[in-house]
C-alpha cells in the first residue's frame, strides 16, 4: 500500500498519518513512514524521539552541473539502501525517514531536499508499504512530494476554510491526473458532517474520525495518541480506515485483473 496524507495545515494530517503507519505495521506489514514536511510533525504522532533526524550529510554528495552546484545521493547509495541504513526504527516496527528540519537563521535545506528527493525516486518496492505525511496546503502535492502514492487521503475538517482547501486539492488532483483521491473527514462533531465533506469537496469519503479530546491532550504533550489512548476513538477510527483503504485496493486489483482477462 502506498498512501499520502494531504490537507490544510492543522487538519490533522500528521496525527492520522503517524497513527495509520503504526496500525498498518501492527497488521504485519513492513511500513516506511515518510515525513516530507520541513516542520516537526509525524515524529510526535509515531512516538519517535528524534524529531530532527534527516539524512546525514554523508548520505548526500554535491556535484557540478554545468557550473551549478547540485546534490544527489552519494555514489553507490540507492534510495532503498538509504532507507535501510538511515531510517529511524520506530514503535511497532515502523521505519521512519524525514526531511531534515528547519533550524536557526540562514538555514539551508538544499542538500536535504535533494537527498530526500533521491530517496523518493527509488523507494523500496516489494514487501513495503509507504505512508507519507505531505506539507500542508495546495502546493503541487500530487506531482512532487506525493508522486509515489497510489492513494491520496485528503484530510478535511467540516468547516469552510478546510472544505475549500479540500475542494482545491480535489481540483488539482484531477488536473495532475493523480491516482485514487479520497477524503477523510476529521474532527467530526455532528451527524451529517461526513456527508457535508463529501458534498462540498466532491470526493468520496473513505473514513470518519470523531473529534477526540484525548488527541488534543496528546498533541499538547507531544505524545502519540496511539500510546495515550490505544483503544480510543482516534485509534479505532484509524483501524477502520486502514481496512477501508485495503478493501479499496483489493477491489481495484481485482478490476485490473478482470481488465487484463477481458480486454474491451
Amino acid at each position: 500500500m502506498r498512501v499520502a496524507f494531504v490537507g490544510k495545515g492543522g487538519a490533522g494530517k500528521s496525527s492520522l498519518a503517524g497513527t495509520f503507519a503504526r496500525v498498518l505495521a501492527g497488521t504485519g506489514q513492513r511500513v516506511l513512514a515518510l515525513d516530507s514536511d520541513p516542520m516537526p510533525g509525524m515524529a510526535f504522532a509515531l512516538g519517535v524521539d528524534q524529531t530532527d533526524a534527516g539524512l546525514p550529510d554523508e548520505a548526500v554528495e554535491a556535484y557540478d552541473d554545468g557550473g551549478r552546484r547540485r546534490y544527489r545521493l552519494r555514489a553507490g547509495l540507492t534510495g532503498t539502501g538509504a532507507v535501510e541504513q538511515y531510517a529511524v526504527h520506530g514503535p511497532d516496527g515502523v521505519r521512519f525517514l524525514q526531511l531534515g528540519k528547519a533550524r536557526g537563521p540562514r538555514w539551508d535545506n538544499t542538500r536535504q531536499h535533494f537527498g530526500f528527493q533521491g530517496v523518493l525516486d527509488d523507494l523500496p518496492g516489494d514487501g513495503w508499504s509507504i505512508v507519507g505525511d505531505l506539507p500542508g496546503g495546495t502546493r503541487q502535492p500530487f506531482l512532487t512530494w506525493g508522486r509515489y502514492a497510489q492513494t491520496f487521503l485528503v484530510v478535511v475538517e467540516p468547516y469552510p476554510a478546510s472544505l475549500l482547501t479540500g475542494r482545491r486539492l480535489a481540483r488539482l488532483a484531477a488536473a495532475s491526473h493523480a491516482p485514487r483521491v479520497l477524503a477523510l473527514a476529521n474532527k467530526v462533531r455532528e451527524p451529517g458532517d461526513a456527508e457535508h465533506v463529501s458534498k462540498r469537496t466532491g470526493l468520496d469519503v473513505v473514513g470518519t474520525v470523531p473529534f477526540d479530546p484525548v488527541l488534543a491532550d496528546a498533541d499538547r504533550l507531544g505524545r502519540a495518541v496511539l500510546d495515550a489512548d490505544p483503544d480510543g476513538p482516534t485509534a479505532t477510527a484509524v483501524r477502520s480506515l486502514v481496512e477501508a483503504v485495503q478493501d479499496r485496493e483489493a477491489v481495484q486489483d481485482r478490476e485490473a485483473v478482470q481488465d487484463r482477462e477481458e480486454p474491451s
Binding site: K8, G9, G10, A11, S14, D37, P38, M39, P40, G41, F44, T51, A102, R103, G104, P105, R106, W107, P135, G136, G137, T138, R139, Q140, P158, Y159, P160, A161, L164, T165, R168, D219, R220, L221, G222
Partner: protein, 242 residues
C-alpha cells in the same frame, strides 16, 4: 508599518491576521491585508464570505493559466487582485503562482519582497504568510516592524514558533510578538511561557465562539466581538500601535 504573521498551519494565523488588520483599520490605519498563503483563506476570516474569497483566488488562477493579464505594478496588483473588506481593509491575494514571469511585479517576486514594495508612509501592511519557516527565512535582509508568531500550546506548534522566533531575533528581522491561541489552562500557560522566555506571549483563551464563527464561515470580529478570545486578539493588535 509592516507586519508579518507567521506560524505552523492550523495555529490560527489567518484568524489572527484578520482581527489584527480590521482592528488597525478601525483605529484609523490605512490597512492593506496581503494573503500570501498558497491556500488563501484570509477573505473568509475578514468577513467577505466564501464566494468572494474564491472569486479573488480564481482571478489569480486565471493569471497563472495565461487567461488574464499580469499586473503592471505593485499598486495595479492591489487593484486587480484586491477587494474592499469590512472596516476599510483592502485585501489582496498575492499567492505565489505555478508559472511566474521572472521579475513581474505581480508574480515574479516573493510575497516577502512584495511586502516591502507595498509599504509606504501612512500605510499599514499586514501579511498573512504561508505556514512554516521558509517564509521567515526569506525575510532575511528585508526586516519588517513586527513579526507576529502565532502558536497554539501543542508540542509541534510551539516547536515551529520557537524556531521562527529564533530566526527573526537572530537575523534582526523585526520585533517578535508571540500570540498563543487556544490556551485552555495553567498548564498551557506554563508550556507557552517556557517556550518563549522573556517574550511575554499574548495569551488568547480557547474560544468556542471563534470555533463556531469558523464553522459558519464568518469573521470572528462580526460573530463574536465580545468573546474573551476575540478581545485578547484585539488587545494584541492595539498594543502594536503603541
Amino acid at each position: 508599518m509592516k507586519v508579518a504573521v507567521v506560524g505552523k498551519g492550523g495555529s490560527g494565523k489567518t484568524t489572527t491576521s484578520a482581527v489584527l488588520a480590521r482592528t488597525l483599520a478601525r483605529r484609523g490605519h490605512d490597512t492593506l491585508a496581503l494573503d500570501c498563503d498558497s491556500n488563501p483563506n484570509l477573505g473568509i476570516s475578514l468577513g467577505l464570505g466564501e464566494e468572494a474569497t474564491e472569486r479573488l483566488v480564481s482571478v489569480r488562477d486565471a493569471v497563472d493559466a495565461g487567461q488574464e493579464q499580469h499586473a503592471v505594478s505593485a499598486d495595479d496588483l492591489v487593484q486587480r487582485f484586491g477587494v474592499d473588506a469590512p472596516d476599510g481593509v483592502r485585501l489582496a491575494v498575492v499567492t505565489a503562482i505555478q508559472n511566474p514571469k521572472p521579475g513581474c511585479p505581480c508574480c515574479g517576486i516573493s510575497p516577502e519582497q512584495l511586502l516591502g514594495e507595498l509599504a509606504r508612509p501612512g500605510r499599514t501592511v499586514v501579511a498573512d504568510f504561508e505556514a512554516g519557516l521558509s517564509t521567515v527565512l526569506r525575510l532575511d535582509g528585508r526586516p519588517v516592524d513586527v513579526v507576529v508568531v502565532v502558536v497554539e500550546p501543542t508540542a509541534k506548534s510551539l516547536e515551529v514558533g520557537r524556531r521562527a522566533a529564533e530566526v527573526v531575533q537572530g537575523g534582526g528581522l523585526g520585533r517578535v510578538v508571540i500570540t498563543a491561541n487556544r490556551v485552555r489552562d495553567d498548564q498551557d500557560v506554563a508550556r507557552v511561557r517556557a517556550a518563549f522566555p522573556g517574550l511575554d506571549p499574548v495569551l488568547v483563551p480557547d474560544e468556542p465562539a471563534i470555533v463556531a464563527a469558523e464553522r459558519a464561515g464568518e469573521a470572528p470580529l462580526d460573530a463574536a466581538a465580545d468573546s474573551p478570545g476575540v478581545r485578547a486578539l484585539v488587545g494584541m493588535a492595539e498594543s502594536l500601535t503603541g
